[in-house]
Point group: C2
Chain length 412, copies 2
């Protein structure tokens, strides 16, 4: 097969964003990813947004291209079966991702007795294993406190589960690093990552911890301004809002030139005695700069300056809702090779993304739909767990496993 | 050496968040990472936040544990030198990360003539190579439109450059996937990733694109509520704000029990004719639920219920600023093995994070400070570019390279 991670097999026992995203990212790079769930579906089976059918668009989005097996994990047979699938043989298998943190039969100590070189990546809430989600980690570490309109008194949480998304990608790189180690040293291992630690490390990396320790004032809300340099949103004559960036010297010079505001900026520099070529000065004087630029944007429709901004290579964008973006932006359509229009039963037809990376050594992998719950149960029991037809039939009869076909047959 | 990515050498030509974060993540897993910069420092050399000394806490945060070489890249000698460093021999070398996208001498086609199996990961703004930053990608794709207080009319941008952070982590996993491929097939490649594609793919994965296509109403701002289930912030009697989560059935039942609101919730269910065990119903009725819970929190200080919430395993958190978090939360101190207190010249003393992953096969790597600009120039010229002492002296004399020691000598 012609895929980047061809041959790799990863088993995933998961729910919600981070670990499902990790498994899907590997699947979209070409790995075989098996997600196991309870017979009734995982904790995220009904996560919003939903399609009009009631099926989860969220679940479908985060489990694309995986194989699904549905198992009764309360039963000893179910536990033995999941163990067998996680620890099945294969040079590039024996990799397990989870955020379920089941102690006993599904922990690393027990599983690695069945396969010594097992690689297991466990995502926890916090480092003590207490439950945390993106929505609790974020306020605990101060981001909502610095988000929102200037002067707004309440913290503003994000609509995007950024920590989950970062953690999920870190699960991917940790797994690949651990596999690299196994290839060289023949040694498996457990990698533990806490969602809260991902967030704590990241705010440290961005300098926010140092800032809070060595500087006096707390970083405050600054609306939609780009922190520490210049970047601001403006409402145009057409009613559309745009974001313009003057972070680097070149971006700043381009913005000043395109808006013909050179003289006014020089006057501001003289008046304030400060040099606007210094990004921190642009931050300090952002309100004055914005006051100069505001009438320029207020007097123009986006279409009046869009082409010139593009030609000059300015860094800028219009604001859009997701619906607007879908209507206006070809990057969210099949004009972008990352997207394929898929018709998904129970969900509808819309552009579905593959992996954002274009790997020159292999053709792009088209995105594949998410499986139905238990869709690959029989296949996995045969090909991975290597059970006989008789054994498989017994597991179905006992209700240890389920598949849509079998469910339909039982209901009939 | 006893490190996860031991032996790997990565060269980085970068600025700002994503690619520096990628290189640093690899360094914190044990790779040797060489960042090259202009003699005067990269575009991000003065990025905020700054320490009182004027040095960048941001730069120090995103370049920890790297080696730094300062080169005049306008000169042909400087370009030849950087080429030599990127394409230097070594089985686990020949890996290059960049977001600078310099056409000609520094593109993949040219560089790979010097090392056929070069792996190069390039992060672009958008897929056409136009400039985009987190602050423009985010409004273009609709996140600020769904962020902020309910009913607030303007879009609210995030204080966290989430797309940069996600893209940076994706650069890491793409590099590791490409190295895996090279180990198996002996083949290098270029991986191109656009920041905007990372964002577009992610909103697709989360179901937001499907939602916008198949459902009528646009997703609107919902303040600090957890989208699609129950999660809300409350102000307590002590003035502190808390976030409580009722996403899973267990979390919801725990929250209802801990707040003694079972009867009121049953009454709400009867009155509305809806089943609160359904997460979507909790979302639809979130205002009614919040009205029930609000007096409970308003009548209690955080200390009155914190212990019971912990004992019951509820998913919750207090809101904090970063300064508050540093004072109150041991997870941001050396009590957390991820953090080390470092004294950094020109910056100060504060807790500095290492990689969030705990890899059982290797001891945790303590974080190392960022280098001074050009700190490793001589070492890299000798050990990596394999130049003679005479050649190195000539490069310094001509001003093709710089180091802090040499700069001090020249100034003396």
């Amino acid at each position: 097969m012609n895929r980047m991670l061809n041959g790799m097999r990863v088993v995933e026992g998961s729910a919600f964003v981070a670990v499902p995203l990790a498994g899907m990212t590997l699947a979209q790079m070409g790995a075989e990813v098996i997600r196991f769930d309870r017979i009734e579906g995982g904790l995220d089976a009904g996560r919003w947004p939903l399609a009009p059918s009631g099926q989860s668009l969220f679940w479908a989005g985060l489990n694309k291209g995986k194989k699904s097996i549905a198992v009764d994990m309360r039963s000893p047979e179910g536990q033995a079966l999941v163990t067998r699938i996680i620890t099945a043989s294969g040079k590039d298998a024996g990799m397990f991702l989870t955020n379920l943190r089941v102690r006993g039969w599904m922990d690393h100590e027990t599983l690695s007795q069945h396969r010594r070189d097992l690689i297991m990546v466990t995502l926890m809430g916090d480092r003590q294993g207490r439950p945390q989600v993106d929505y609790t980690v974020n306020p605990a570490l101060g981001i909502p406190d610095m988000t929102g309109p200037e002067g707004h008194d309440a913290p503003v949480a994000a609509a995007l589960p950024a920590w989950d998304l970062i953690a999920g990608n870190m699960v991917v790189s940790s797994l690949l690093a651990a596999e690299r180690h196994r290839l060289r040293h023949g040694e498996g291992q457990e990698v533990e990552i806490a969602l809260k630690d991902v967030a704590a490390a990241t705010i440290g990396h961005l300098g926010m911890i140092g800032d809070a320790v060595v500087n006096g004032p707390e970083r405050t809300k600054a609306g939609n301004a780009l922190y520490g340099a210049y970047g601001q949103d403006f409402i145009c004559a057409c009613g559309r809002r745009v974001m313009v960036i003057g972070l680097t010297g070149r971006q700043w010079a381009g913005l000043v030139k395109a808006t013909g505001s050179g003289e006014a900026m020089e006057a501001l520099a003289r008046q304030s005695g400060r040099d606007l070529r210094d990004e921190g000065v642009r931050w300090d004087l952002r309100h004055e700069i914005t006051a100069i630029l505001r009438p320029w944007f207020a007097a123009r429709r986006v279409e009046d300056f869009a082409e010139e901004f593009e030609t000059r290579g300015l860094t800028w964008s219009v604001f859009r809702s997701v619906k607007q973006a879908l209507r206006e932006d070809p990057d969210l359509s099949e004009a972008n090779p990352m997207f394929s229009m898929l018709d998904q039963p129970g969900l509808g037809r819309f552009p579905v993304p593959g992996h954002p990376g274009a790997f020159s050594a292999r053709p792009r992998i088209r995105p594949e739909p998410a499986p139905a719950l238990g869709q690959h149960t029989e296949e996995i029991l045969g090909d991975v767990a290597r059970l006989s037809d008789t054994e498989i039939a017994q597991l179905f009869d006992k209700g240890v496993v389920q598949s849509p076909r079998h469910a339909a047959r039982s209901a009939a």
